[in-house]
């Protein structure tokens, strides 16, 4: 099919689909008048039952923990897929000759970028840790803080050299951290099963609302998810970096 015919048929079909969509969407209730029953129930009950102030994280890690477990497994599987695809492709190519500490082919970064990077590493690390640990009190949580922590480690690459980064995060450590995070999350679910015959039941004593120790298993789930996402981001970046910086002679 020629590109022109493809374009025209695409527009025609999308117009039909669009008419259907608009008709469906106009049948929704007015914007701003929400009529859900499950959400109202959760709002009424969550802060007193679970002693957390961030109701969204209570829904994510307690009431709907099943969905979050599947989301963790999706993350895990996609990282595994990327590793398999890129390592298999790397295995097919002839082995390049580059020494372990070789940073040739990697242009020097300017001084401004390096200074800014060095300053920002500490700040970013602290911010990421704060967001992970306080996920059940204020907006934030495991996923957001995990990606920020991964970005902090990648700033080391930006501010320094590839050599330093290789000493700093061998791939085995990253894989271990990600696996520990994912297994810890599943382990919390099993703990609920053992403690009270309902999987993912919140079985640790919930403290007083507003303090760091509150919410039972919710802050622990935050930490597990933070570990898993931190490891995942670093594995993804290092797989692609490894690919991009191998030099052929």
């Amino acid at each position: 099919m020629s590109p022109r015919a493809r374009q025209i048929s695409c527009v025609v079909v999308l117009l039909g689909f669009g008419a259907f969509l608009v008709w469906g969407v106009l049948g929704l209730q007015d914007f701003g008048h929400w009529t859900g029953l499950y959400g109202r129930r959760v709002l009424k009950v969550a802060s007193s039952e679970r002693q957390v102030t961030n109701v969204v994280s209570a829904v994510n890690f307690d009431y709907r923990m099943f969905d979050t477990l599947i989301e963790e497994l999706i993350l895990f599987t996609s990282v595994m897929g990327v590793m398999l695809v890129l390592r298999h492709q790397r295995g097919e190519d002839p082995e390049p000759e580059h020494a372990a500490g070789d940073s040739e082919g990697f242009e020097d970064t300017t001084d401004g970028v390096r200074v800014l990077g060095v300053i920002l590493i500490g700040v970013t690390l602290l911010l990421g840790l704060y967001i992970v640990v306080h996920g059940h009190l204020t907006p934030g949580g495991g996923f957001q803080g995990g990606v920020i922590l991964g970005a902090a480690v990648l700033l080391v690459f930006l501010a320094g050299e590839f050599v330093t980064v290789r000493h700093l995060h061998p791939v085995e450590t990253m894989e271990t951290i990600e696996a520990v995070g994912a297994a810890g999350f599943a382990g919390l679910g099993l703990g609920g099963l053992i403690a009270s015959s309902a999987a993912f039941h919140n079985f640790i004593w919930t403290g007083t609302s507003g303090m760091l120790i509150s919410g039972g298993t919710i802050p622990l789930s935050n930490l597990a998810v933070g570990c898993a996402v931190f490891g995942a981001i670093l594995i993804l970046a290092s797989e692609l970096l490894e690919q991009a910086l191998i030099v052929r002679r």
Partner: protein
Amino acid sequence: MNALQFVTIVMVCLASTVVVFTRDPLRQLMVAGIAGLLLAILFFSYQAPDVALSQIVVSTVAVPIMVLLALVHIKRDEGEHEEEDES
């Protein structure tokens, strides 16, 4: 619905249309980052700060890192293909 939400919705639609019609991947990546930030402002005005944090982090940290590294890798592959063709 207040004025901030209305203006941000219009800007998100405009930015996403520009994202689709930019063909060069590197430029499209920058525009997609801007569209992601506008979407985060919209989420914030919908009283959803958790979702806005997530959107900022994914659309300006995770996706650009991965797309840029993929683009570097592809450029290197193209460079090697040319060397092989010449030799």
